[in-house]
């Protein structure tokens, strides 16, 4: 009976180790991903898209970025997206003046279906 208990304990222990192992490895390129997301925001800013929050221009630039990088760019709740990020790789929160009001926007960058971007 005790042997059985010990074997069950061993199994549980192995399962716990197996589930914790991926968590023990930190993301190697987390900072780099964040830098890429900030690059995208700066591109919007330098291209003048944030002045007046021109969503049409932002969409064009988002598609251009997707063409270059194969990454999907999405501004949460702002109808700006090049493709839907199915697997998010990073996100940053930024403040922009949207129609005269300061608003916090989430910029999501991820991997998704880019077939429609040509």
């Amino acid at each position: 009976m005790k042997t059985l208990e010990a074997l069950i304990s061993l199994l549980v222990f192995l399962l716990i180790i197996a589930s914790l192992a991926p968590m023990a490895q930190p993301e190697r390129d987390g900072i780099y991903r964040m830098q890429l997301a900030n690059d995208i925001w700066r591109v919007f800013s330098l291209r003048g898209d944030l002045e007046g929050f021109d969503k049409t221009r932002m969409n064009v630039d988002a598609e251009e970025i997707t063409k270059l990088t194969s990454l999907c760019v999405e501004l949460d709740e702002e109808d700006v997206t090049s493709c839907i990020p199915e697997e998010k790789i990073t996100q940053v929160r930024k403040t922009a003046i949207v129609y005269g009001e300061p608003k916090t926007i989430t910029l999501r960058v991820g991997v998704g279906d880019t077939k429609n971007i040509k």
């Binding site: 192995l14 180790i17 690059d39 990088t69």
Partner: protein, 156 residues
């Protein structure tokens, strides 16, 4: 009679407990062995990871500096992060030397990205605005390993 029966029962019980403990100790030993092996493996893995990522981390830091300050447009003492007018090779070499990397910079439109990955060990890219026309560009930062002259490198 009663005493003899009790003695036999005690002996049987002790024998059973000892045997059961003997078998139960095996999984415990396996658990301990597994725990020790795992900790040793993760220790080695961390060492390799530190050695391997140090070059990558220095590349990411160098690229970040160059994209934010080193190569960007400067006007009246003001810096424009991510806006590059031209690539200053001297600045790239200076930062490469300082970080102990054989750092190379390529622009997607002018130099092209083809062949970069096969020639260089590690490459990353950053998004920038290039030139006065403000085109969206990808700029590659590559290194083929540590600059041995500095003697502080790690292989990736």
């Amino acid at each position: 009679m009663d005493s003899q029966y009790r003695t036999e029962k005690i002996l049987h019980t002790r024998a059973f407990v000892s045997f059961d403990t003997l078998i139960a100790i095996l999984p415990v030993m396996i658990i301990l062995l597994f725990a020790i092996k795992t900790s040793v493996m993760y220790g080695n893995f961390s060492d390799e990871k530190v050695a391997g990522t140090s070059e990558y981390d220095r590349l990411v830091s160098s690229a970040d500096y160059l994209v934010n300050y080193g190569l960007v447009k400067k006007e009246s003492g003001k810096y424009y992060p991510n806006w590059i007018i031209s690539v200053d090779d001297a600045e790239v070499k200076k930062i490469g030397d300082a970080s102990g990397l054989d750092l190379q910079v390529f622009l997607d439109s002018t130099d092209g990205a083809n062949g970069i990955n096969s020639d260089y060990g590690t490459c990353i890219y950053r998004l920038i605005i290039y030139g006065e026309k403000k085109n969206i560009e990808k700029i590659y930062f590559c290194t083929n390993g540590a600059d041995d002259a500095n003697g502080n490198g790690a292989s990736g």
